[in-house]
Symmetry: C2
DNA sequence: CGGCTCGATGATCAAGATTCTCATTTCTAT
DNA sequence: ATAGAAATGAGAATCTTGATCATCGAGCCG
């Protein structure tokens, strides 16, 4: 259950936080902007301010509940942290986001960092392309 | 010479454009924010507006003369496009940026994209770490 | 269950980065 | 040199995100 995760992070269990968690859990794309979450809240009749959405997402990020990603657009997208690390492929046409994990790349990254005298702490890898060779069946984000 | 590149891109050869190219060429870090370029222009006595810097950099990007990167900070950084593609390692401590190219990673990226039904067009890979294990000799950006 | 205390919220404002507007200036071709 | 088109500068505008502050509600204690 998620309310325990909230408490564990020292956050009170409030309606805005639960609603936002719920939206993140039930989202089909699993990668939402703060604005998109805000709009879903409005659509479901919740009177929750945009500032609260940003504040809550930032707290969730600090608590390790969500990841903040900077894909192509100007807005950050947030995804629920479910288990492991992964990287992303974004379709230039429809904005669809897919996830992948590749041990070969992870290993090479560590080797490259070591060769340059860096101890790697994190990385960001995003592939951009066109999905399904022009018959892209998804709508833009 | 660079003025020919400007003409080739359909851009008039103007003083702001030449000065900005010059700064990009002579920069030691090779990765500059628009603000940093603007400050260098002011320091060298040029009366060039920040809006022009952004405008020119955007045009240079469209012409393939420079790359725009989103590293850690909130500001984009620009680097002169010299030959080949490469990715970046950024030091969390001092902000230093190093470049690398790894065929293994490039190949794996193409394979992964294909497996997901994507034709890859571009990618962004940034490694974040600490350089030289705590004895970081460089200043913050 | 009722109240207390502090964290959470909402509304608005603010900040930072980047782009836009528009009058003026500067290239470039003629 | 001159006209026409494009570029510039200054500032306003925009977009995203974080800050402020008064009000509200969650959680704890009796």
């Amino acid at each position: 259950m998620e309310t325990s995760d909230l408490k564990k992070a020292g956050l009170k269990v409030t309606l805005p936080r639960m609603k936002i968690l719920e939206i993140l859990e039930n989202s089909e794309t699993r990668h939402l902007t703060a604005e998109a979450i805000y709009r879903e809240l409005l659509d479901s009749g919740e009177e929750i301010g945009l500032a609260t959405v940003y504040r809550v997402l930032t707290q969730f990020e600090a608590a390790g509940l969500v990841c903040r990603l900077h894909l192509e657009g100007s807005q950050a997208v947030f995804e629920l942290e479910r288990g492991g690390h992964h990287d992303h492929i974004v379709c230039n046409q429809c904005g669809r986001v897919e996830e992948f994990f590749d041990e070969t790349i992870e290993t090479r990254q560590r080797e490259i960092a070591r060769q340059h005298g860096f101890s790697i702490k994190d990385h960001a890898l995003v592939l951009y392309g066109d999905c399904s060779d022009s018959a892209c069946p998804h709508r833009p984000v």
